[in-house]
């Protein structure tokens, strides 16, 4: 057993709790204290330390009675996009700054039922719109990692689930929920040197998750390693009658199935993912990943995903279009921020002008434009057609391979403030994660190496729809071979 409880994996902690080597209260209190120490990261919008410690006491009672649940007392961070009963849920937005839901999202309820304990609501890009966690009304989140070259520069944790990723990377939470619409779990996992999983669209219920783009949004999970992420995903998954886009699919015992050799598994390397200007470090680690998988018994095959280059523009039509409609409910009439105007129209204008940040407004405007009469076919209809072609690309590719290996992101973490005035550059950060999102496929990022600045880089595994088991197996084998053990120093942050 490691003496620092915040360095444990979930599997280790559960074993120790079972053996009563420490109590649930000790485990949770230690993480809560770390959350408080690392407040400068700004990883949380709302801390729920008191409720967490109370829940830990209940966990101890359960453990004493021999009624331990699958994830008993595991301290987690809850992305502040999941509605949590009686706990403020902001979606990172001013417009929901005072919103306390009278209901609990399906995923957070399932996690609670499995025994996990949320220590707080994690910061995020406003309405999950962003790739750097700098669009949050509650301020940017800092990545626990620092560049060796520029150690005084604060870096972004990625986004939109930046607070969740930072919390897990810093050892504040043993795991965290994220959401992933175009890469919002996988990209921050890559930036923070941890595991991030986006399951198949429909694997988890969206009920109670503040909607960004309904046809793309999925709950995601952050953990320190593949096994922990599998344990978490199993607890979060399952059909929900309250979300008709959740699928009546059986949930495999992911963690029990992941240790499996890769002989006979075909790993596809998409040639179109070799984009111009990609740093050599990323090309190298991608190749290293492929050769490690080959060593583990897999067969490496080149595949083609010819419509990849259209994925980002397609995404930036479909997601804003849906968002422009999904965010119409924030009108100041029933809940949330309200700025009284002289009449109804002015009340709408003032409320939404003040309630939404610049990036959210930009996307509402893009989406509204794309759906407008006269532009609809040129943008929205065309984007739907390309989305289908992108999905078809994967269907074709999966005739030749079983999983696909790609880099997770085209760069490592960048400085807070960088790219902020260049939305296109920011959007291109999702170039490797968006295609699987558009196709509804599962994808996960695992930490692979440190780049020339000493910053983590992730590799992404994509599998067929509903084949999270295949994805986890490849990721687990790769994780074993890569043996990535680096941790952020945290000295600068805590100082």
């Amino acid at each position: 057993m490691t003496s620092d409880l915040t360095r444990l994996t979930i599997a280790q902690a559960l074993e120790s709790l079972r053996k009563k080597e420490f109590s649930a209260v000790e485990l949770v209190t230690r993480h809560v204290r770390k959350m408080e120490q690392l407040r400068p990261l700004n990883a949380f919008i709302t801390e729920t330390a008191e409720q967490a410690v109370a829940a830990a006491a209940e966990s101890d009672a359960r453990i004493a009675k021999g009624e331990m649940r699958t994830l008993e007392a595991i301290p987690i961070a809850m992305k502040d996009l999941f509605c949590t009963k009686d706990i403020k849920t902001t979606a990172g937005s001013h417009i929901l700054g005072n919103f306390i839901p009278p209901y609990e999202s399906t995923v957070s309820q399932k996690l609670m039922d499995s025994g996990t304990i949320s220590i707080g609501k994690a910061n995020l890009d406003e309405f999950a719109m962003g790739g750097s966690n700098t669009t949050s009304y509650y301020g940017p989140v800092e990545n626990p990692w620092r560049s060796e070259k520029f150690p005084d520069k604060k870096l972004v944790p990625g986004g939109s689930s930046g607070g969740s990723a930072a919390a897990v990377a810093a050892g504040v939470a043993m795991a965290a929920t994220g959401t992933d619409t175009g890469g919002s779990t996988r990209q921050p996992a890559s930036f923070c040197g941890i595991v991030g999983v986006k399951p198949t669209y429909g694997r988890c219920s969206r009920w109670g998750i503040v909607a960004f783009a309904s046809s793309l949004d999925q709950a995601g999970v952050f953990a320190k390693n593949v096994e922990d992420s599998a344990l978490m995903l199993e607890a979060m998954s399952g059909h929900d009658v309250k979300d008709t886009t959740s699928a009546p699919q059986a949930v495999p015992n992911f963690a029990a199935l992941l240790k499996h050799d890769l002989r006979g598994v075909r790993v596809g390397i998409p040639k179109e993912y070799r984009v111009d200007g990609m740093p050599q470090d990323i090309i190298d680690v991608w190749e290293k990943g492929a050769s490690l998988l080959k060593d583990a018994g897999a067969e490496i095959v080149e595949i083609s995903l010819p419509h990849t280059k259209y994925a980002v523009p397609t995404y930036y039509i479909i997601a804003p279009a849906e968002a422009s409609s999904n965010l119409a409910r924030y009108d100041g009439v029933r809940y949330g921020l309200r700025k009284e105007g002289k009449d109804l129209a002015e009340t709408y204008e003032l409320t939404r002008a003040e309630g939404f940040g610049a990036e959210v407004k930009r996307r509402i405007m893009i989406g509204t434009y794309c759906l407008s009469a006269g532009y609809y076919d040129a943008y929205y209809t065309k984007a739907l057609k390309i989305r289908r072609l992108i999905a078809n690309d994967f269907t074709e590719a999966f005739k030749k391979c079983d999983v696909i290996l790609t880099p997770t992101a085209p760069s490592s973490a960048f400085a807070i403030g960088e790219n902020s005035d260049d939305p296109i550059k920011m959007y291109l950060g999702d170039v490797f994660t968006i295609p699987a999102s558009l196709a509804g496929l599962p994808g996960m990022s695992i930490p692979a190496t440190l780049d020339d600045q000493g910053l983590p880089l992730g590799l992404q595994i994509i599998s067929r729809a509903w084949d999270e088991v295949g994805m986890f197996r490849a990721a687990y084998a790769l994780e074993q071979a890569l043996n990535f053990t680096a941790k952020p120093a945290l000295a600068k942050v805590a100082a």
Binding site: Y103, A211, D243, Y348, L371, S372
Partner: protein, 485 residues
């Protein structure tokens, strides 16, 4: 008013198409489990979905789909096994989501037809363009506070069927006949209660005018037409307005107009240029709706006999005329009542009693058929008593009055009050003799050729028998006795 307007430049034809919003009869809303009862306290039937709370998702209510399919079948329409829900985006406080979930591109019901009944027993077929399911909005209340508007979300999310007709209607009479027929069909199917006053059925009327044989003119959509009377008046007003504009050299602008039921006029709400851009797109929270043919077939098996079929059957099976049949089939419950009453009785006689006495009487008391103190079987019994000559038609009216008052069976009333007709010719003969004996002058006058006095003798006999004497026997005896010299 005829379908033609005689203008200064010639005859104009009024062309009308209807968009009817019919609230679906279902215990819960289209996409939520909230109740749908009319008249509940404001905002007492609102789920988290109806209030558009963050992260809430719509779940389609299967009952509403069934009702739409049933209605489609009742309107002789194509059922689309694939349909899809789209979002219609606009801002308004009584629309919590900021969009209405509707079916824009792929409605659940396609083309169909309704036969309407016109004066002179004529019928006309009106094309149905489509029927689709959509959410109702809440209600904005502007009269509760001097400066604020209130919003009641009870209606928010209730299922509506929008039934769109082809522009096949000509003039207000046909428009009213169409709405009447549509309402009757919906009520037969029990898919909508068709209540204009409570707003469970609402019509938007598209009106244009053209010279006979010319292409369609530019149409205006009239909203807020909340009764059959309003439909008629609004069309008359609007058509006359359009003719006047055109004849004075103007042109009709395509626009939405509001019917003012106080000033009895339509006025412009918004022009085509000001029309909302609703930015319809497929609702990503809902999968396309795919139903199977056997689902449709199962519903088809549950269809009741519809008004037209029933009308024809009543005419053929019971030998009733158009008028009686059409009155009886107006409501399914009324037709069923009649059929229960007529079982084993003279159908024509039963129809008279149901229509003239019972419905007339209930109407006078301000009661509906369901509140009738008299059961269908009791009307049948009463008709039976007339048929077997236990009582005369005249006595039957007294018995009926007593039934309305007490709800007692006619047999019991007749027995208790001793109202059985006297058919014993000996007894009647005795009365006839008495009457003739006490009116010698009239007997003489009759015999001298004053035939009209026959009625006087009948009346005297009936009076003496307290109305119980069998009229046929009275007639027979009087004829033979007055002839005898």
């Amino acid at each position: 008013m005829s379908a033609l307007i005689h203008g200064k430049t010639g005859d104009w034809e009024i062309v009308i198409g209807m968009e009817v919003h019919a609230q679906v009869i279902a215990h819960s809303k289209l996409f939520s489990g909230a109740a749908t009862d009319f008249g509940a306290a404001p905002n007492s039937q609102v789920s988290l979905v109806d209030a558009a709370m963050p992260g809430m998702l719509p779940v389609l209510n299967e009952k509403c789909v069934e009702q739409a399919v049933k209605t489609g079948l009742g309107l002789n329409s194509e059922i689309n096994l694939y349909s899809r829900f789209d979002r219609k985006n606009y801002f308004y406080p009584d629309l919590p989501q900021g969009y209405q979930i509707s079916q824009f591109q792929f409605p659940i019901v396609g083309k169909g037809a309704v036969e309407i009944n016109l004066a002179n027993n004529e019928t006309k077929t009106i094309g149905i363009t489509r029927l689709h399911l959509e959410q109702d909005a809440g209600k904005s209340l502007h009269d509760q506070h001097p400066t604020k508007s209130y919003v009641d979300l009870n209606r928010s999310g209730c299922a509506l069927m929008e039934i769109v007709s082809e522009p096949d209607l000509r003039g207000p009479e046909e428009a009213v006949a169409y709405l009447t027929k549509l309402r009757m069909i919906l009520r037969y199917l029990e898919t909508c209660d068709g209540n204009f006053e409570e707003g469970s059925m609402r019509a938007d009327v598209n009106v244009s005018v053209r010279k006979v044989g010319a292409p369609y003119g530019t149409r205006c959509e009239i909203k807020n037409v909340n009764s059959l009377k309003a439909v008629q008046l609004a069309i008359e007003y609007e058509a006359a307005r359009q003719v006047e504009v055109i004849e004075e050299g103007g042109t009709i602008k395509q626009e939405t107009r509001l019917w003012d039921p106080v000033k009895l006029e339509t006025r412009s709400m918004r022009s085509k240029e000001e029309a909302h851009d609703y930015r319809y797109f497929p609702d990503p929270d809902l999968l396309p709706l795919v139903i199977e043919q056997n689902f449709v077939d199962r519903i088809r098996e549950t269809l009741p006999e519809l008004p037209d079929q029933k009308m024809h059957r009543f005419m053929n099976e019971y030998g009733l005329g158009v008028y009686d049949s059409s009155v009886l089939i107006m409501e399914r419950a009324r037709a069923d009542f009649y059929e229960r009453a007529a079982k084993g009785r003279d159908p024509k006689l039963t129809a008279n009693w149901v229509i003239n006495e019972l419905l007339g009487g209930l109407n006078k008391d301000g009661k509906s058929l369901s509140e009738s103190p008299i059961a269908a079987e009791q009307i049948g019994e009463l008709v039976g008593l007339i048929e077997d000559k236990t009582i005369s038609g005249k006595i039957a009216k007294d018995v009926f009055a007593e039934m309305m008052k007490t709800g007692l069976s006619p047999q019991k009333i007749v027995a208790d009050q001793g109202l059985q007709q006297v058919t014993d010719t000996g007894a009647i003969e005795k009365i006839v003799d008495e009457v003739l004996a006490s009116n010698p002058d009239n007997v003489a006058a009759y015999r001298a050729g004053k035939d009209k006095l026959f009625g006087f003798f009948v009346g005297q006999v009936m009076k003496k028998s307290q109305g119980k004497a069998n009229p046929d026997a009275v007639n027979e005896l009087l004829i033979s006795k007055l002839k005898a010299e």
